[in-house]
């Protein structure tokens, strides 16, 4: 079978079944079963499929995923997140557009304590939108920062998607996690600058209002009691990795321990919190792992059928400059993300893109971060970006897709600026990971 027929069969089957509403994990499983029968040609292929799927899941490198999810779930369900947010609110003072800045600051902080962009967006949306509406913020100023900031959790460590990407693409988990730290902070700063510019252009979009004045003593107390202890969790995750005390996998367990210590210290740990957090964790990890257990077989079948190598020769045959190839892959990811969830996008693109960047001589950690940015941006790209629809669901009645998409647009510009910085100065991404050697 020609490589393009094999590739079209495998990719077409997955995409076609997904379009028909078949759950993503089962769409991959169906493609694997059919692919095993077609390319291997006998039932032993199916035994191999089960065996390889099992091996894919029983890898220590995947252990951070449920643990980071548990850490985030405990953080949100215990009320720790609310304490952090309340404190940031107190510190902000009277500032035009304060709720927009608060969204960015709070979102960036949550991102260091959780790895879920969806949870981040949902939390920010439910907390900030009603308040912004009440204070007379226009839709552009209220929805934009939430849509932009929600995705920061994909980049700033600990990011669940970074761990997944690293394990699927066989790159160093710790390096990819740490690689997101600096660009994530820069992106949060770019978001703040964008908010500042938007307010300058249209001050009525974010009216100023009186806030209760707090003394320095009271502010200091709020920081010491509610914010500084969060540093313990950040230190136990990022600090432990950088200091070499624990591997990224082990750091995730210490992150959970850190949040547990804080919930006990703040007397927030209840049986209900534990139950809800674990339930949320098995739902999310179960869903993700159920999908990725099929990823190994899917990429092996693409390789076995000759589709991967054929696609590789075809793509490199154009002799395009490396930057152009990388941008084409980036745009492909954006297009995929318009109608596909991030995990499925990774499973479809990683077996094709990572061998290609290897041939092109692009650093896999750098490219991994670019993939994460594409995943982040695709969630807010019309017409089908998932976060846009979530925002319509929580926004005031009558909000249109166009309004949500135009609110998100300035923040997509910030993402684009970050990508330009990454292309011009790759060390900006690779400096911290290289320190780990």
């Amino acid at each position: 079978m020609e490589w393009y027929t094999a590739g079209a069969l495998m990719l077409g089957m997955v995409i076609g079944l997904m379009a028909l509403g078949v759950p993503v994990a089962l769409a991959f499983l169906t493609a694997n079963i059919v692919g095993s029968l077609v390319f291997v040609g006998h039932l032993a292929g199916l035994l191999q499929m089960v065996d390889n799927s099992t091996s894919m899941l029983t890898r220590f490198a995947l252990a951070p995923v449920p643990l980071f999810i548990l850490m985030g779930a405990l953080f949100f369900h215990s009320g720790l997140a609310l304490r952090v947010f309340d404190t940031l609110d107190k510190l902000m003072g009277k500032l035009r557009g304060r709720l927009c800045y608060l969204t960015v600051l709070g979102g960036a902080m949550f991102s260091t304590l959780t790895g879920s962009s969806m949870a981040n967006t949902a939390m920010l949306g439910s907390l900030m939108l009603p308040e912004m509406d009440r204070r007379g913020y226009n839709k552009r100023m209220s929805m934009g920062p939430i849509l932009g900031t929600g995705g920061l959790a994909m980049i700033i460590p600990p990011s669940n998607l970074a761990v997944l990407l690293a394990s699927i693409a066989n790159i160093d988990v710790g390096q990819l996690l740490i690689a997101g730290l600096l660009p994530g902070i820069v992106l949060a700063c770019l978001f703040s600058v964008m908010i500042f510019l938007q307010i300058k252009l249209n001050p009525a979009g974010a009216p100023a209002y009186e806030v209760p004045r707090l003394g320095w003593l009271e502010k200091g107390r709020a920081v010491v009691v509610n914010l500084l202890p969060m540093g313990l969790v950040v230190f136990m995750v990022i600090g432990f990795i950088l200091l070499g005390i624990s591997t990224p996998t082990e750091a995730a367990a210490f992150g959970v321990l850190g949040v547990l210590i804080l919930t006990v210290a703040f007397r927030l740990l209840t049986w209900q919190v534990i139950r809800t957090s674990f339930e949320s964790t098995i739902r999310v990890s179960g869903m993700v792992f159920f999908i990725i257990m099929n990823s190994a077989v899917f990429s092996e079948l693409l390789s076995y059928s000759g589709a991967s190598s054929g696609m590789l020769s075809w793509a490199t045959g154009f002799s395009l400059p490396t930057v152009a190839m990388v941008l084409i892959m980036f745009i492909t990811l954006l297009a995929l993300g318009m109608f596909m969830d991030p995990v499925s996008m990774m499973l479809i693109s990683v077996p094709i893109f990572f061998p290609l960047i290897h041939v092109l001589g692009v650093d896999p950690i750098w490219f991994g971060l670019l993939v994460l940015l594409a995943l982040e941006m695709s969630g807010t790209t019309p017409p089908f970006g998932l976060l846009l629809f979530i925002m319509i669901g929580v926004a005031p009645k009558g909000t249109t897709l166009l309004e949500v998409a135009s609110a998100a647009f300035p923040f997509l510009v910030c993402d684009t600026i970050l990508i330009a910085l990454m292309i011009l100065f790759p060390q900006f991404v690779l400096w911290l990971p290289n320190l780990m050697h």
């Binding site: 509403g21 994990a25 089960v50 065996d51 029983t58 969806m118 005390i245 674990f278 990890s285 179960g286």
Partner: protein, 170 residues
Amino acid sequence: MKSIAAGYNWLVNALAVLSAVTIAVAFVLIIVDVTVRTLGFSPPSYTIAVVEYALLYMTMFAAPYLVRQKGHVFVDALTSRLPRSVERICAKFAYLLSIVVSLIFAWFAVELFVQSIQMNLYDERGIDMPMWSLYLPIPIGFVFVALEFTRYLIGKDTMYTDRTKPRDSV
């Protein structure tokens, strides 16, 4: 009939609880391992192997509960724009296909399970694990997954929830 349904529901929930327990076990093992190592002692040799197996058991035992809780990721960009009757046919097709592929997967996992017992195979990791223990949770998980999809296939409930609701996700 009611007691069978109640027993079945209890089993699905019990598997979900076991799934949560495996995460807790993995968490404790890793903390103990790193602490012991940092204190200069020799850490237990089984930590990595047990955690790796826990990931598989966690996934398989959570799988039926996940279907029941409508927690699977799906794309409804196309089907939600179809007429209601066609959308229903697509949904029934999706359930049927999911049942068939789950049972195929379970069947071949049983074959591997039986083979590994007959041939007395071991999985060489940090410690040697009997190979059958690697395959054991797969048929359990997939058969229950098939049963859960059967509930949707023959019942009135649908797996497809509102796309605009924020769901738990990565």
